[in-house]
Symmetry: C2
Subunit: 211 residues, 2 copies
Amino acid sequence: MIREKLDNYYSFVFEKELLDEIEQVGVYKKLRENELLVDLGDKMKGVPLLLDGAIKIVREDKKGEEILLYFLERGDTCASSFASAISNGKCGIRAIAEKESEIIFLPKEKLDEWLVKYKSWRNFVIDSYNIRLNEMMETIDTLAFMRMDERLYKYLKDKAQIMRETSLNTTHQDIAYDMHTSRVVISRLLKQLENEGKIKLNRNKIEILEF
Amino acid sequence: MIREKLDNYYSFVFEKELLDEIEQVGVYKKLRENELLVDLGDKMKGVPLLLDGAIKIVREDKKGEEILLYFLERGDTCASSFASAISNGKCGIRAIAEKESEIIFLPKEKLDEWLVKYKSWRNFVIDSYNIRLNEMMETIDTLAFMRMDERLYKYLKDKAQIMRETSLNTTHQDIAYDMHTSRVVISRLLKQLENEGKIKLNRNKIEILEF
DNA sequence: GTTGCTATGTAACTTTTGTTACATTAGTTA
DNA sequence: TAACTAATGTAACAAAAGTTACATAGCAAC
């Protein structure tokens, strides 16, 4: 069963021998919606490969203020965990399942070994880091160059894409937490987007009309 | 001469055999102050190892708006170049020497080969990515959680540290470019910091009194 | 010196974002 | 249905950041 899911998303990424090894040592885990996968300061004993679902990666500062960094989808891994696992350091982020998700945990002992043995693993690790660096840069662009209303609209579209839905089940308060602003600001801007015909508001639900 | 500088900063990082190889294939280059090392959209043919100096890494969006991402110091490499070199993709950043700097260019053909051969190279690459991810997170924290006056003070202190000086030769306009705001805002906040006794302002020069 | 250029200082005003306070609405439970 | 709770709507105001416009100061070339 695991092998089947693994093959689904990773058979074109990894060599057969590596897939075999992953099947042997990987630990399958199913995550409930809103389940905490990684918390701030955790020391990772391995890295998660995402088979299905969506994981939200959040940054928190000393004062407990939060901001969304990016989402992981199937085929992704958490570069920050990789960092933490291989260096025995602490993880600087929090990872929460946005919806029911499936992962395979790879034990950290194998991570370096596979770098030597498998070209496909080297590529995957380097690619993962690159994707993450690019996501971070996009986040920085968003924070540095966009106004709150643009950021909000982008947030809604991005989240809809990750969740594979055109309407989101969420509250204004939750969005405010992700964007590190206040609920009132979000309500105001959402109403503005609704007036522009880009979205439709309902209780606990936002439909996106224009992508 | 190169070997000497290489040994200075990297003899505890790389194995002897790797240092030998780097000496053979690496290309030494000296950068003048303000010299452009990498531009947006460049395809990298190798990665720079920083021997000495300071490199400013800047992000630019489509509209040509800029923001400082972080600085590189000796011992650092540019993860974004590594990404670009190994994947033949384009580089998403701009790198400019903040002062006279010395680098060694490593040809991209070796990068993967060394990952297999040298444990110290694997560690260095992974560490570099991790350091960069952490810098990016710090930049995000700064943008998301701090007000402009705090960001400015942090900018001054960070830059002073990188330049190894307690006073900076720079103009308000240049700071405004780095922080993606306007000169007037910077002048206003600098004056405020001066009134608080944290800095002293002169033409083309800012002394930092409190760290 | 005078001229000219660059950098800095600052006032006045606008826009954006954040805050407080309270009303209304939809859904849930007693 | 009444009572309660969570979510949303909105006004009024405050703070932060951005903009325009212009004055002044420092420095260099003539």
